[in-house]
Structure formats: structure tokens, C-alpha cells
């Protein structure tokens, strides 16, 4: 969505030869640092006049670590899953004009080139609105951000009255991208109307849902966009100070945001009298000590105040928040949207989305798919498009059973409903939530009762313990699921779980407890037969629940190689070399190591 000339300039750089290497938490985990070193060394050895350029991440996790080579006269080419040793060879071949090893090119110059990104479903079907710079610019360079139109949104906002800024956000129809989808303008308006000498804005970067990391990716790859949105929010409500709330466990995200704050201050986008508008505003990056419940507004405020635990609402933070002052809390992605809306106008944003929910949303697609990644699509995109067309569907031989959306507060949507268009209301009516946009694909090798147990265990551990329904109720739910998965449950337990889940949702103090039963309620809604199978036939259909499966050795396939017996940690496998082995069930810990160790596939779970 960048103008062609700007895009080319950033792709090739001032030297006309740029090699981009993504440095973000995810690519580093996949080995990008070693690749980076090898690229630098290769550039020296081959005496190339090239810039080795650090960028953020594109969100195409499945090809991590990747590099992109762009030399004037040739199309920029992306190489996925690069091993350090391959780097010199890749470079040499690219320079010889041989692009055959590339995963994709940015644009084609010859029909024999590898496919261009726009021909590939995982790119073509995306609408990279808020993530446009991710993987393209150097996240630590304010110049790069400004080059792409950065801070022009702030300039425009500061030239408008506060009411007008809020009006514009209202006209865009932007809703919070962190959870419930509350209209952003409304929070702003309430806080704006409060009479108070001190007001605060907070960027909620406390991303805690397992399987959701779009905020980290965005803040690590394009931190100024988040900051610009926060400054605009601060201006709109008349705040003097902003906080960016980040987990200490995500050091790179915090470091990049901190650098962005310092650079923005030097450039005059923060501090006293910003851009001669008379608006004074500064931002502090707050490194939190980490607790899932801090995603909840009042718990987040408590953390900055040096306390813990959420409190009853109302009063809402917009009227009485941090240290009792009016406070607006927006999520990372929401603020990045704000900046982009002010840069490129409301019309560009409202082009996408549905009647009730405008714009685009970043989704993390993980689990049983071929192409794990972070993808940005218009709100209202079908689940099917995201899971099958973009993320490539399940690995060979697997079948999608359900999609878990919204993390521990969300629910499971069964495979039959893949045509569902994802927006806040539709997901809610089917028992899930948009949440932060984490989408975990569950295949036929997973047990839905076990999935529910997993999430119940998660929220139980994260419950702050302040209110009874969540503290005790979740413990009871967890006990019931334990009973069911170990084969001692009854039909009554299923009904009890349903009833209990519904009352926890109704009576909890904060949104954590209010949504904690969702995973169990939604699996009961769509996969009750699996629960029933566990309690009536004492069987786990997916063969996951350890207490309900047995390991057996097929005598026809066993060659007596003793690999299984050697691997077994509890000595449960007996048999002499050359003879058929046997698993003694009373000793078996059901760890499954024998199954992996057997070279003949003779061990089965039944």
C-alpha cells in the first residue's frame, strides 16, 4: 500500500543493493542471528557494495529465517528457511541472475522468475494495512518510518481540534483490536469530557494469550506506528503522559519501543510544544512483571501503581483510572490503526471490513497448518480463507477438526462452520471471541476435552483469586475435566460443568473470569459427543487422554530389536532380543517414547 517509488527506494536502498535480514524474537528463535552474521561475512568476502539491512518480521513465520536480496536491475527476491551455510551460494547465484532458489520475488521482471508475492495466496489474500511496514523497514530507524509517511498522521491530527480528532475516529468506525471490540472513539470522548488537570493514555502491550503474538510482531517491526497512535490518542483526550505497558519477558519489544520513544523525542514528536502545536506530552515504557490478568484494564492500572489484581467497574478507567485520573487504554494494534487512519485517511480504512466492523485485523494462525504465520485480512474474512487458502490447511494426512479463536477467553469453532465470516458479533454468537486474534487450528489428532482442560488449567493458574466464582469455580471445573479425562466421570459431570461454567461467566468480577468458561462451553456445544464418549465408553476418541489409552505391540510387526525396551523409562517393556516384546500395562507411564523409538511402527495406541 506504499507508493511504488517509496517502496522501490526502501527495497533497494541508497546503494541500490540491499540485503534484508529480519531480526525479531520469532526469527531469532529460528536462527536469524547466525544467518545475519553469515550474510555480513559473505558480503565482505565477495567484496560487495551492499547494505546488510536489519528489518522486522513479515509475519511469514513458516519461512523463518528468511533473507531478501534486492539489487538494482533485478527483482528483490525472498529466500525462506535459509541455513547459514547456504548464504554465500544464494548470494552468488542471485548476482548471476539465477533466481531459481528463491521462494518468491517482490515483482517479476521475467516470466521465468519465481512467483511474485502477489501470485501467492498467503500474500495475495492479505490486506497489509497496519502491517505494511513489517519486514520492510528498519524498526530502529525513525527516518525509515518517516519515509513511509510516518508522523504525517500526527501532524494532521495536531492541526485539528480535539473534538475533530475524536470525530474522525468515530467516522472510521475503529473498534478495539485487543478483545471485546469496544468503539475506540467512545472511550476517548468520555475521557476528553472529564475535567482534570492530569489525564493518561496507556498502550496495552501485555499480550498474554498463548498463540497470539501479533502485537509483539507489530511493535518489534514498526514501533513508531504504535507510538504515533499513542501520541494522537494523548492529544485527543488532553493527556500529558502516556505509558506503553510491555512485559519484561519480551525484552526486544520493550527495547525497540524505548528506542522509538527516545528518537521521537529527539525529532520533536514528543516533549514540550510538539510540532509547535502547544501540546506537551511524553511517554514512558513500563516493563511489567507479567501476569495474564494484566490484559484486563483495571489490573493493568494496578500494576503500574505497584499493586496487583483488577477491581470492580464502574468507575471505568476513562473517568477514574491510573492514580484516580481519567485514563484511556488502547491495545497496540488499535493504536497502530489510529496512526494509519490519520496518515492515509478514513476512506482508505473503511474500504475494508463489514458494515459493523470496519478495517482489517491481524490474526496469528498456528497449530495444525502448513504455514504458521501472522496474517492481516479485512474484518469479516471467512475462517476458511485464513486457515486453508492463506495458512495452507492441515499437514498431509490430517483433518481440521476445529479452530480455537481468542485464546483462553475464546472458544472452539467446529470445522463445519469454516464459512463463518469473522467479525466481533458473528464469533460471539458462535461461542468464540475475536480477542486479540489468535487462531489455533486443531486437527483430528487432538482431543477436544483435553483442549478444554488445557485452557481451564491456564485460566485457573492465572486467576488472581480475588473473586470467588473464578477462584473456586475454575478449580471445580478443572476437577470435573480431570475426572472426565481420567475415565471416572459421569454424564452428570457434563451437565454440572455446563451449569457451573455458565454461572462463573455471569458472576465473575472481571473479564478474565467472565470469559474463562468459554473454551469448555464451546466444546460442550459442538463436541459433546467427545465428552460423552469419555464418560460412557471410557474412551478417548483421539487417543490423547493418557489414562484412557493403552500401548500395545503388534506381534506381526515386532522384530525384537529392543529399541522400545531401551527407551522405556519405567521398564514396562519386556522381551529378549529377537523376540516379540510386550508392554506391561501396570508399569506403563504412557509417555509414548516407545512409539517414537520403534523403527518398525509396531507400537500402537489403542
Amino acid at each position: 500500500m506504499l507508493p511504488q517509488a517509496t517502496l522501490r527506494k526502501i527495497l533497494y536502498g541508497s546503494k541500490g543493493f540491499r540485503i534484508r535480514v529480519p531480526i525479531a524474537s520469532c526469527t531469532l528463535a529460528a536462527g536469524a542471528e547466525e544467518v545475519y552474521r553469515r550474510v555480513r561475512r559473505a558480503v565482505e568476502e565477495l567484496k560487495l557494495d551492499a547494505e546488510v539491512y536489519t528489518v522486522g518480521c513479515t509475519g511469514l513465520c513458516f519461512m523463518d529465517p528468511w533473507i531478501e536480496i534486492a539489487k538494482e536491475g533485478q527483482p528483490p527476491a525472498l529466500y525462506g528457511n535459509v541455513k547459514p551455510d547456504q548464504v554465500p551460494q544464494i548470494l552468488k547465484r542471485y548476482l548471476e541472475g539465477d533466481l531459481s532458489g528463491a521462494t518468491a520475488v517482490r515483482f517479476k521482471t521475467d516470466s521465468r522468475d519465481p512467483p511474485s508475492l502477489d501470485e501467492l495466496d498467503y500474500w495475495r489474500l492479505q490486506t497489509r494495512y497496519v502491517s505494511r511496514n513489517c519486514g520492510l523497514i528498519n524498526p530502529e530507524s525513525i527516518e525509515d518510518y518517516v519515509e513511509t509517511g510516518g508522523y504525517s498522521g500526527l501532524k494532521r491530527a495536531l492541526s485539528m481540534s480535539r473534538e475533530k480528532v475524536i470525530e474522525e475516529v468515530k467516522a472510521s468506525g475503529l473498534r478495539g483490536r485487543g478483545g471485546a471490540g469496544f468503539p475506540t472513539w467512545f472511550k476517548w470522548k468520555v475521557a476528553y469530557e472529564q475535567k482534570s488537570d492530569v489525564k493518561y493514555v496507556i498502550c496495552n502491550g501485555d499480550e498474554g494469550d498463548p498463540g497470539a503474538f501479533m502485537n509483539r510482531l507489530l511493535a518489534e517491526s514498526d514501533p513508531h506506528r504504535v507510538l504515533e497512535g499513542l501520541i494522537i490518542a494523548g492529544y485527543a483526550i488532553g493527556a500529558t503522559k502516556g505509558f506503553i505497558f510491555v512485559r519484561a519477558e519480551k525484552p526486544l519489544m520493550a527495547d525497540r519501543l524505548e528506542k522509538a520513544v527516545n528518537d521521537a523525542r529527539r525529532a520533536g514528536f514528543l516533549g514540550k510544544n510538539i510540532l509547535d502545536s502547544g501540546f506537551d506530552f511524553d511517554v514512558e515504557v513500563y516493563r511489567s512483571a507479567g501476569a495474564f490478568v494484566c490484559g484486563e484494564e483495571t489490573a493493568l492500572i494496578a500494576a503500574i501503581e505497584g499493586r496487583s489484581r483488577p477491581r470492580q467497574r464502574p468507575p471505568y478507567p476513562a473517568t477514574s483510572g491510573l492514580w484516580g485520573k481519567p485514563t484511556v487504554i488502547n491495545n497496540v494494534e488499535t493504536l497502530a490503526h489510529v496512526a494509519t487512519i490519520f496518515q492515509s485517511g478514513v476512506a482508505e480504512f473503511t474500504k475494508y471490513g463489514t458494515e459493523k466492523s470496519k478495517g482489517t485485523k491481524m490474526f496469528c494462525v498456528t497449530g495444525a497448518v502448513k504455514r504458521t504465520g501472522v496474517y492481516e485480512v479485512p474484518v469479516g474474512t471467512k475462517i476458511k480463507t485464513l486457515v486453508f487458502d492463506i495458512a495452507g490447511g492441515p499437514p498431509e494426512g490430517r483433518k481440521v477438526k476445529a479452530v480455537q479463536i481468542g485464546g483462553p477467553s475464546g472458544g472452539c469453532i467446529p470445522a463445519e462452520l469454516m464459512d463463518l465470516e469473522m467479525d466481533y458479533e458473528s464469533l460471539q454468537s458462535y461461542g468464540a471471541i475475536m480477542g486479540s486474534g489468535g487462531l489455533v487450528v486443531i486437527d483430528d489428532g487432538n482431543c477436544m476435552v483435553d483442549v478444554a482442560k488445557f485452557f481451564t488449567g491456564f485460566t485457573l493458574a492465572e486467576s488472581c483469586g480475588k473473586c470467588l466464582p473464578c477462584r473456586v469455580g475454575m478449580k471445580q471445573l478443572s476437577n470435573i475435566l480431570e475426572k472426565i479425562t481420567s475415565g471416572t466421570g459421569t454424564i452428570d459431570d457434563i451437565e454440572l460443568a455446563q451449569e457451573l461454567g455458565e454461572s462463573i461467566a455471569k458472576s465473575s468480577l472481571c473479564a478474565l473470569g467472565g470469559t474463562a468458561p468459554n473454551p469448555i462451553l464451546s466444546t460442550l456445544r459442538y463436541f459433546k459427543h467427545e465428552y460423552v464418549e469419555h464418560v460412557v465408553n471410557r474412551r478417548c476418541p483421539a487417543k490423547v487422554c493418557a489414562k484412557l489409552v493403552k500401548y500395545v505391540i503388534d506381534p506381526a510387526l515386532c522384530r525384537g530389536c529392543i529399541q522400545c525396551a531401551k527407551t522405556c523409562p519405567t521398564g514396562a517393556i519386556s522381551g529378549s532380543p529377537g523376540e516379540v516384546h510386550r508392554v506391561r500395562e501396570e508399569l506403563c507411564a504412557k509417555c509414548g517414547q516407545c512409539l517414537i523409538a520403534c523403527p518398525f511402527g509396531a507400537i500402537r495406541k489403542v
Partner: protein, 182 residues
């Protein structure tokens, strides 16, 4: 170093405001790698906050620990993607390999701690184990593990912990965030 004296030095630098409680505890942990009891008592005294309240905060947030940890801490990711791809088996295999049982998380010899962790956000590598040296100088990420590989992996860290007196002297056998590229 004396924990009480350390708290004193932190407090004299950043103040005794109630809102600094978490920051102070973070500094103590950075130095001692856990929160010694004396430090908590001193924080309580200096900030004029009850010890119960200090403990409340110290036990509420995941970052803080009240017990010393092993030389290397292995965090097994229990995010959804990792869980569905077998992180429980990886976790159990590692614990068995180093003889951890009965809810213990640190080995007798103090070389290793194995803990469950929340999502690291590198779900494409599921199941993931992150190993961090307790002084924070080394950090390694290992992905797509099977129980057998994870067993081998944890034993290699055990011998590595035994072979070095301090940290930073070992050649990194994987990615180390120590010298993150800028």
C-alpha cells in the same frame, strides 16, 4: 552482597514511592536472581508497606521467584500450539532425564531448573524449549523437539553446567541473545 544493603541502595536511587514496589523487586531479582527473604523485609520496612502486601505482589507476578534457581533454567513452552504438539511429553521426558520428581523443579545439585512457561510467540517452532542461564547472559531457543531429543538436550545442559565455573566462557551452541544484532 547483602540483600538489605542492596535494597537500601536501590531505594536511595529511585525513591520509596508505593508505585516503585515492582521496579525495586525487579532490580533485586536482577542482582540476586531471586528475591531473598531479607530483601522483602527491607522493602516492606523502607516503603512502609506490610510484608504481606510485598509478598502479595512478589507472588502474584510471574517474573518473581522466592527460591534460588539452577544454573540453567529450561522453560518448556505450554502455549496452545506447543501443547497440542506435545510439550507435555517433552516436559516429562526432560524431568525424568534429570531425576526431578514430586513437584520439584530444581535438581539437587543446583545445575538445572525446569519450568513450564507461557507462549514465547514462536509457535511455528512448536514445541519450543527456551534455556536461559540464571544470570541472564545466555539464552537459547530449541524448536520442533521430540521427547527423545529433549532428553538429550537437557542432559547436555546438565554437563555444561557442571563443566563451567562461571558463565559466558562457553561457545554458544545455538542462538544466543547476548549479542543481539543491532
Amino acid at each position: 552482597m547483602d540483600p538489605r544493603g542492596f535494597v537500601e541502595s536501590v531505594v536511595s536511587r529511585i525513591g520509596t514511592d508505593r508505585s516503585k514496589l515492582i521496579n525495586i523487586l525487579q532490580e533485586v531479582q536482577r542482582t540476586f536472581r531471586y528475591l531473598p527473604r531479607e530483601s522483602l523485609e527491607e522493602v516492606s520496612r523502607r516503603l512502609g508497606v506490610s510484608l504481606a502486601e510485598v509478598l502479595n505482589v512478589a507472588t502474584f507476578y510471574h517474573q518473581f521467584r522466592l527460591e534460588p534457581v539452577g544454573k540453567y533454567v529450561a522453560y518448556v513452552c505450554f502455549g496452545t500450539a506447543c501443547y497440542l504438539r506435545g510439550s507435555s511429553e517433552v516436559y516429562e521426558a526432560m524431568r525424568r532425564a534429570v531425576g526431578l520428581n514430586d513437584g520439584k523443579t530444581t535438581t539437587e545439585d543446583g545445575s538445572l531448573t525446569i519450568e513450564k512457561a507461557r507462549c514465547f510467540g514462536c509457535c511455528s517452532l512448536a514445541p519450543v524449549v527456551m534455556v536461559v542461564s540464571s544470570d541472564g547472559s545466555e539464552r537459547y531457543v530449541h524448536g520442533k523437539l521430540t521427547p527423545i531429543e529433549s532428553r538429550r538436550l537437557i542432559l547436555s545442559y546438565k554437563s555444561r553446567a557442571a563443566s563451567t565455573a562461571g558463565f559466558g566462557s562457553i561457545a554458544a551452541a545455538g542462538y544466543s541473545e547476548k549479542d543481539t544484532v543491532r
